[in-house]
Subunit: 356 residues, 2 copies
């Protein structure tokens, strides 16, 4: 289908592999990378797989000054049957283009990007770890490369894919984390860039994370920037609560990221006939649920952890414990099912998995 021509230059100086139990997230990269360049008036050109190497840019490049950049995060899984699987990769490419639109950046050809990714994985297949819980983390990203200090959209871009073998997120099994509800800093508001997967959203969150770290909290929970009462996201994940039998998650409101794990979980819950609602969820509602013993479960969802159970929430000095600080039954079932589908050990009724 795809008529994409990719020039492949093999790396003659392959790196030594790092044992799976020594992998640190995002520190080790494979031997190759994909890159394509965009020039206004010409389009995308020079699609190539090359040895993993530095990027060279003029110090006036737009990315350094005005932050035009978007990224995606996805994973490839190698199962015992030797098959490599991707989880809904077309959704990542689609979202990347939505992000590009918000940031006034060139759009990718989604089909070409997927083709490039598949070829890159093929070239670096030996880098995919197969131990339980491991995967190959994939980072497609685009940067604005024009040498110009005027505040305007760049006329040139590079689309790059790098890959990093990652160990198990839960080395000692899935377990809940403590979360600090953020009351001072704001992640995003409607009309801003909160729905785009762009660098500025992450830089702005580091300050709040520093405060959370000091208190021994794994992540912050973001409230809306207007009334500071409605729940938005937790760290860089979407968030779900099970309250008195109903599963609720903040509705996409123009400032929340449209998570692929999030939408998969909603689909899975509906498939199981578990009541799930996308709506506004306030901290007052969480407090009330806690006080009346209805706060059954809480968990973050994202590509890295898949499901990250929440055992404790701190909000303005109040502490809400969830499920005695233990992983809830539904959280565990969702985790096992999703990771099972991703690994090919659980049947995929939705056609989510792409086998390479």
């Amino acid at each position: 289908m795809s008529n994409l021509k990719i020039q492949i230059t093999r790396n003659e100086n392959k790196k030594e592999k790092v044992p799976a139990d020594q992998l640190i997230f995002g520190r080790t990269f494979t031997d190759h990378m994909f890159i394509a360049d965009y020039t206004e008036g010409i389009g995308w050109h020079d699609h190539r797989i090359i040895p993993y190497q530095p990027v060279t840019l003029d110090p006036s490049a737009t990315i350094f000054h005005y932050g035009q950049t978007v990224f995606e995060g996805m994973k490839a899984y190698l199962s015992d049957d030797g098959i490599v699987r991707l989880f809904r990769p077309e959704e990542n490419m689609k979202r990347m283009n939505n992000s590009c639109d918000r940031m006034s950046m060139a759009k990718i050809d989604e089909e070409h990007a997927l083709e490039a990714l598949k070829q890159l994985i093929e070239v670096d297949k030996e880098w995919i770890p197969s131990e339980p819980g491991t995967s190959l983390y994939i980072r497609p990203f685009m940067i604005a490369t024009e040498s110009h200090l005027g505040v305007s959209a760049s006329l040139t871009y590079s689309f790059i894919i790098i890959m990093s073998p990652v160990g198990s997120y839960y080395k000692e099994g899935i377990h809940p984390v403590k979360i600090l509800v953020e009351s001072e800093y704001v992640r995003a508001v409607a009309g801003g860039t909160g729905t785009a997967k762009t660098a500025g959203n992450y830089a702005s969150c580091l300050k709040a994370q520093e405060v959370a770290d000091l208190g021994g909290y794994a992540q912050v929970l973001w409230l809306d920037g207007i009334e500071r009462k409605y729940i938005e996201e937790v760290g860089s994940m979407n968030v779900f609560f099970k309250i008195g039998g109903e599963v609720v998650t903040p509705a996409l409101n123009g400032s929340i990221l449209d998570g692929i794990t999030r939408k998969s979980i909603i689909q899975l819950l509906k498939h199981w006939d578990v009541p799930v609602t996308e709506r506004k969820v306030s901290m007052e509602e969480i407090r009330e649920a806690y006080r009346t013993g209805k706060l059954d479960e809480a968990f973050g969802t994202g590509t890295a952890a898949v499901i990250s159970p929440i055992g404790e929430l701190r909000w303005k000095g109040e502490l809400f414990y969830v499920n005695n600080g233990e992983t809830g039954e539904l959280s565990k079932k969702l985790y096992d099912t999703l990771t099972g589908i991703q690994k090919g050990t659980v049947q995929d009724p939705f056609g989510w998995v792409v086998e390479l």
Copy 2:
């Protein structure tokens, strides 16, 4: 005072100068740049002036993914007496550190940064144009350079200064522009990063600027992200209105940039005994002032234009004309005084100018 050691490597391949009337903002750069590196646990090191050259970074560098970067904009002026002048440069370095704090980045030594800037200007002095209205635009910036995809503050940074000779902002004399009041997109809210001079704030504004461009508007005027009624900034400038004899500008509220031109203008107006107030300014108030004939003047303020008079405002289909679309008396006086102080032709009663 400063005990900073800067290694200087001269450029043996100097570029040809571009005639002042052919300079385009931020396209031409001088022969040298300053760079220093930061490593957590060591601090700033390897302060050096080197030939202007590309920056080389690992594709996993934090700047590409999580947007930790801050910048400043300032100008050096060469006057007929051969003296090079900077305008309140210590304010830029101070603000840069405030931005670094918000973005969880390493702080610079402000005195060292000024010393580095002065030495860089000395090395590239021949690049400062002297024609009326011209200057040497200076761009200090810092980028996060660590090779790591984990979402956390980088442990390494580079602080870089590049310089670009710029022509006159007003080739045909100071003149008013048309401004579109933005109702869909939001620049920043309190708790976000609006007060920091960081890349993400600029990337997020490009989409609205695209719409403004299509309608023939020079810039957008940003409203607050919460009630969408109070004025924040215009494009990447602060904004002032003269209403019935009083000059008003939006108060610093946690989402507006603390502009150095802005604060200089407030000081100058007070020095002149012109009533000036920092407070909330709503679009309803501007409409009312327009309808009652009290909207005397409006102008943006920033390093690039110094004063940018506003001749027309469009808000939800309504048009407000300011001063018959001509530059107001006060706007002109502020422009002449500030640019005169910067060039050394008008006395500087505030000690703003630093002569090199």
